[in-house]
Symmetry: C2
Subunit: 124 residues, 2 copies
């Protein structure tokens, strides 16, 4: 299998953050029952729990800006590991918050789902 | 297999950064021929190339301080994914540089090696 993991990762993150910023309740089909999300100090497992967490975040308007995006093949099965650093703009705040995020993407039926998702704000 | 992936990840990172800060030329046995390092915009594969890169970094005295460390199981085989955010103090500089790093750890013969390693400084 010859997948361009850099292009795939960029496409995935663009789709993910666009969808997150537009309507994060619709991200559920990117996760499976065994998927895991660490969001700051919260740990969730399963698409339903993950989406409940994401939709419960107390911000309305949100925008992600990617600063760096690095990807590597993570197995011989086509898994891809992506690390993003970026800026998060919440509601009407002037100062973006920096964050770091990792996605572990698993190929399935011609597409990919998220097995691992770790998100942390970078406090100054 | 019941491994405490949180304890493992903390032990690994403590060992890794202690060794890095003391003598990073000795980190080679943590990598294999198919291991990958992304260090800023550089991409390396294989223990030898990775150590050459790390030892060529133009700083003498270095210290890592972990700010956050989050781990998740990354497969049914015992793989572990770790994301670290932290501060890097280089030489005699007063202001630490913030960084983000991901390790993908693979079990082997009672220990673990690093399959994936992605490192990025977080520019302000």
């Amino acid at each position: 299998m010859s997948v361009d993991f850099n292009a795939l990762s960029q496409q995935f993150c663009q789709f993910y953050y666009d969808q997150f910023d537009k309507d994060r309740s619709q991200l559920g089909n990117l996760y499976r029952d065994h998927s895991m999300l660490t969001f700051e100090s919260s740990q969730l497992q399963g698409a339903r729990a993950i989406i409940e967490k994401l939709t419960s975040l107390g911000f309305g308007k949100v925008a992600h800006r990617i600063s760096t995006l690095d990807a590597q093949p993570a197995s011989e099965n086509g898994d891809v590991l992506v690390m993003v650093t970026g800026e998060l703009l919440i509601d009407e705040e002037q100062n973006p918050q920096r964050y770091s995020q990792v996605f572990h993407l698993i190929p399935e039926a011609g597409s990919y789902y998220v097995l691992n998702d770790i998100f942390r704000l970078n406090y100054a």
